[in-house]
Symmetry: C2
């Protein structure tokens, strides 16, 4: 039963990743550089934002260190159109793929019990009070976060 719900949660993650990858691959660099709606985040920013947020799952799940810590400032802390230096779209596309592969590897190495352990941003005391603050919860909230921005990225496609 326990195994069944980890599988469902992971399947839902992979479905969103696969939809996002398919969309990103279908967009040209020029399309990706556009705003998703007038005055809103560009596709480039959202791609960098998703890589940076997924990267932060690695330390949260306690499976290693961030691969691209340099993305946190321009794609999480700062809004779009900041003056900060940013990677090229080509680099971001390759980070996206490498990030997904790294997370898949980590997920495959995690055993069932690990998903129910606390994530690293919650203290032992807080976890004792609220055992829902586990690694599985990180997976579910990040899947929703991805779906949220996927709904915006899809507006880059020609209507």
């Amino acid at each position: 039963m326990q195994q069944a719900f980890i599988k469902i949660a992971l399947d839902n993650w992979y479905t969103q990743i696969s939809r996002a990858s398919k969309l990103i691959d279908s967009l040209t660099d020029e399309q990706l550089a556009q705003e998703t709606a007038p005055g809103r985040n560009t596709g480039t920013y959202l791609l960098g934002h998703l890589v940076a947020v997924h990267d932060s799952m690695i330390p949260l799940l306690n499976v290693g260190s961030k691969m691209y810590p340099q993305l946190e400032e321009p794609f999480i802390k700062q809004p779009d159109k900041s003056e900060l230096e940013k990677p090229s779209i080509q680099q971001l596309r390759s980070y996206w793929t490498e990030m997904n592969n790294a997370l898949t590897l980590s997920f495959n190495l995690m055993n069932m019990d690990e998903w129910f352990q606390k994530h690293t941003a919650v203290s032992e005391e807080d976890f004792a009070v609220n055992p829902s603050r586990n690694k599985l919860n990180v997976l579910l909230t990040r899947t929703n976060h991805l779906a949220y921005h996927l709904g915006q990225l899809v507006y880059l496609k020609q209507g």
Copy 2:
């Protein structure tokens, strides 16, 4: 453990519902009637679409019959701006609230084992092959679906 997972999945659902409700309540009828981006679905259509999709969870989870079957045609089968007669924005707002309350009641009445039973759109044979096609999976996929459209509805807010 099993209980922990259901709680996490439900918490994630309620978080998305709460964010969506807060956003919808903050928008005027005029804002909701706007397109979320040029040439894209209006807020009104997305609101009707979400109510219709959530309504279809009731028979899928086998907890009753649809409350608003009349919404399926204009908000699922047909695209936005169809000539079909639609409820007013005020009606849709009230359907949204009633829909959420009805689902909360149903979720509260479901026991743990029920979430791992097959949903009604899958046959016994297919469920035997893929036991992930259960009611919990319906909850997770619909949570992602809500997050996806929430990412679009948020564009109705003044930037």
